[in-house]
Symmetry: C2
Amino acid sequence: MTEAVSRPTLEAVAARAGVSRATVSRVVNGGDGVRAPLAERVRRAVEELGYVPNQAARSLVTRRHDAVAVVVAEPESRVFADPFFALQLRGIGKELTAHDNQLVLLLTEGRADHTRVARYLAGGHVDGALVFSLHLDDPLPGLIRDAGVPTVFGGRPHWSADTGAPDPGVVYVDCDNRGGARAAARHLLDLGRRRVAHLTGALDQTSAVDRLDGYRDAVAEVPGAYDPRLVVEGDFTPAGGERAMRELLARCPDVDAVFAANDLTALGALRVLRESGRRVPEDVAVAGFDDMAPVAEQTDPPLTTVRQDIEGMGRLMARLLLEGLSGGRDRERTTAGGPGARGKGVILPTTLIRRASA
Amino acid sequence: MTEAVSRPTLEAVAARAGVSRATVSRVVNGGDGVRAPLAERVRRAVEELGYVPNQAARSLVTRRHDAVAVVVAEPESRVFADPFFALQLRGIGKELTAHDNQLVLLLTEGRADHTRVARYLAGGHVDGALVFSLHLDDPLPGLIRDAGVPTVFGGRPHWSADTGAPDPGVVYVDCDNRGGARAAARHLLDLGRRRVAHLTGALDQTSAVDRLDGYRDAVAEVPGAYDPRLVVEGDFTPAGGERAMRELLARCPDVDAVFAANDLTALGALRVLRESGRRVPEDVAVAGFDDMAPVAEQTDPPLTTVRQDIEGMGRLMARLLLEGLSGGRDRERTTAGGPGARGKGVILPTTLIRRASA
C-alpha cells in the first residue's frame, strides 16, 4: 500500500514561480487574465515540481471531471465473454481518449449492484454516463434519472408501464434491428427456403424483440411461411443457440433455414446442425446478426449475417455525450426512431453480408 | 440525455420525517447520537422519497467513497483479449461486491494515457487502487505514488535505477513465478528430454523475467542442458507464441521439449508444432503456465501447466486493500518475496498440473 506522501502543493508552485496562489490557480484551471510571461513561469514551476492539480478542487471551478462512466447492465463475467462489449468499449475508448476524458467502467456482479452504481454516478465522480445492454424492468434507467447525470443509452431503452412514461430528454443510439432482421429473413426466403426458423435473443431486451418483429415482417409476406413453432427463444449466447437449435430440430425436423438473432447464437446453431449430420447451407441455410469480428468470418462455413457497426456505435454514443456536455447537444438530436421508439434515438443502418452459410 | 431532474433533497426528507436537517444528515451518514425511533422515522422517509445521499457530501464526512479503482497497464484491446484479466477482475469484483464497494475499471488506449489515470486517482473519486500488468519503465507507479492513493499491486513492480528506490510501503501480490517455472522445466527434464526450450513472456514484465530465471535454475542442474539458443522471446500472446516457436524450430530443429511462459504462448506453439508435423508429446513435450480455464484443458492435446490461482489473486489484492483502508493492514503484511523482491509481497504458491502434453 502506497502511503500518502506529501504531494507538491499549489503554495509550493506559487513560491517557486514567485506569484500568488490565485495566479497559479487561474493558470492551472485554464482561466484567462494571466499575462503570458507569468503563465509561462507557473507552467515551468508546475513541471519542475511535478505538481498534479487536485481534480476535486479543479472541478469545483470547471464543474468537469473529464471522466465518463460506462455501465453495462450485465454481470461482469458476461461483459468479458461476449466480444460485442469489447468492440463497443473500443469505440467509446477511442472517442474519449481523443478528448482526454477518462473511461470509467463500472462493473457489477448483477442487478442487485445497480443501486451502488447509481450512488457512484450521483456522487459527482463523472460528467456523464453511457449505459448499455438494459433488460426489461431493470431499475437502472430510473436510478440514473434520479442521479441526475447526463446519459446516452446504447440500444433503445424499455418503457414499460412499470417504469412510467419515457423521459422526453433521453438520447439513445441503436442500429436498425427490425430492418436488418427483415432483410436477413427475406434473403433466406428468396433462396427458396420455406421452413425459415428464428432463434431469438434474450426477449427482455428491445434488440431481441425488434429482430423478432423484423423476422415476422418477412415471413408474413410469404403465404404459408409463418409457423409459430419455428420461433425458439435463445439468449444471445452460443450455449443458448445450441439449446434453441436442439429444441427446434425436435419440433420441426423439416426446417430448411435458420435466422439466428446474433452471430454467437448462430455459432451454437451451427455446432448442433453439424452434430445432427445436416449440411450448411445445402440442408439448412443459416444467417446471423452483428457481423462480429472475428466470429462471423471464422465459423464453418463462414456466416451470412447482418452487419452493424458496433465500434462506431460506441464512438457515436461517446461523441453525443461529450457534445451534450459542452452544450451542443441539440445539433445531434436528429433522427427519430422507428415505429414504437420513444425518446430521441439515432438509428444506424445495417447491411446484409453474404457468405457461404446462406 | 437525461436532464437533471429534481432529486429529493435532504430538506424534503427532514420535512417528511419531522426532524431537523442535521438529524437526517447524521442518520444518513451512519453517525451516532440519534435516538432509535427518530432514526427509524428518517430511514422510512428516505425510503419513501427514494432519497439518494449525495456521495460527495457524504464522503466529506466519512472520507470514504466505497469505490476502488482497477488499473490494468495494458491497452484496452489487450485487457479484453486475454482471459487472465477477466479472471483477475472476477476475483476483485466478488470481494468488492461483498463489501459493497464499487469496482471502477479505468481503461486506457496506452501508456500515454497513464497521466490521465493518475489525475483521476488523485482527484478523490476512489478510496484506493489495484494496479496490475506493469511494464518496465512504466511511469504509473511513480504517478500513483504522487497521487497519494493507497495501492496494492498485482505482480511484483519493477524497481529500476530510473524509478528510484522502492517505496517501502508498497504492497503487492504475486505467485511464485520462479518456483513454478523451475518445477515445469524440471518435469520436462525428468521425462528424459535433453533439448528443453523456453518461450519467454514479455521480458519487460517481472513475471516473465522470474519464469525465465526458474527455467535457468532447472537446466543449470543438468549437465549439457543449457543452450542459450533454446531461449526465444515471446510476449504472452498466442501470436507471440507462434512467432517464437517458428524461430525456435529454425534455430534448433532437434528441440524435444518446450516450456512456454504462459498457456496462451503454449497455444501458439502447439499450432506451429502441428503445422510442422511434430507430434505432442511424442516428438516435443509442451508445458505452459497459468492453468487458465478453459484454455489449458481445451488445447490439443490438453496442456500440462503450472497452476496459479488467478481469481484468488484478484480477491486477495482487493482484500488487502480494503483491510488497509480500514486500518488493519499490518496484520496481512506477512510474507516477504523471494530473492530480489523488494517492497512487501504476498507470494502465492503454484502447482504443476500434469495433462497429456508432457
